[in-house]
């Protein structure tokens, strides 16, 4: 979606609290990824490294579900009230985002 269209709809709805919560999750995920780098550098046991990789994958999944909830509660609801082409576009985008999540 082009930036201008995004700006009109107010993407993250400027919810400072939600933005901070997302950033906190992302910094933790970044720290976990660096932790895995250290495990690989120190040649830790592969199964222990795999356990951490699964943990980061789960953390990303939780972040994605929170972002999706945000999007549906704001952007999708707004578009549904407008109806027409904007509703169809938002439904299509949400559907494709959900499919990517389910298949990743």
């Amino acid at each position: 979606m082009s930036d201008t269209a995004a700006e009109q709809h107010g993407h993250l709805e400027h919810d400072a609290e939600a933005v901070q919560a997302h950033l906190k999750r992302l910094r933790r995920i970044e720290g976990q990824v660096r932790g895995i780098q250290r495990m690989v550098e120190e040649e830790k046991y592969c199964i222990d490294i795999l356990t951490q990789v699964s943990a980061v994958t789960k953390a990303l999944q939780s972040l994605a579900l929170v972002l999706l909830d945000d999007h549906m509660a704001h952007c999708l609801v707004d578009a549904a009230r407008k109806g027409g082409a904007e509703q169809e576009e938002k439904l299509k985008e949400a559907s494709e985002a959900i499919a990517r999540l389910v298949r990743s």
Copy 2:
């Protein structure tokens, strides 16, 4: 698995090339996570952020599968040749790691 047991089995089999390849993937993943942080800070469109989160999840999945292949080709094969308790332990560990991956 305790570190001492890990050291005996030679976790990543000291394959410097594989270690460097894993680190390269992990640094790219770290960069992608920081990229998502910037998108959230700049309040980019949520669907575009979700697309990046799915991309990082896929990158982690690929890393996990490579690590698992490494483990099976070295640790599991070694244990199978020894048979007995070590074989059973390695099969159990691999099975649990695969289940975590499938369910994450």
Copy 3:
């Protein structure tokens, strides 16, 4: 969700064509499951059986995504237009259904 509430919202929106398409997918999935039963009875090679299990999982995923799209385009949009408690309930339900799909 209780049946009476479901009836009011018109669950599958009485779209006969969509219902028939879902049933066609489900009958094919049923046939695939019976095919796997035969493979197990005939003690076919486990990797070949696993390939079929993954195929059925993918078919179920596709069905789930179509059902979810249906639900969002009808029930969620209707609820968004009504707003209030019904909107919140539908958003919560959709969020939980998506989380189950992502985590299964």
Copy 4:
């Protein structure tokens, strides 16, 4: 893998008990799929149908993990003891089967 090669390695290792357990799971899955058909025919609420689809997906995942454990404990261990080309083939097959499971 061609049937003849499969027969030599004794795929499901003729473990009658395991075969019966797999069949029992598969018949339950078949029953769940037929149950979903009835829900669609009776136009039950889509979220309730999605809940059942996720349940079947989980049941298939569990079956796949059991089949994979079986395969690793028998075919992969046998091949590891033989070493050489058969070991490489079995490792490759297992790796691809695990990737399909993780990505489905």
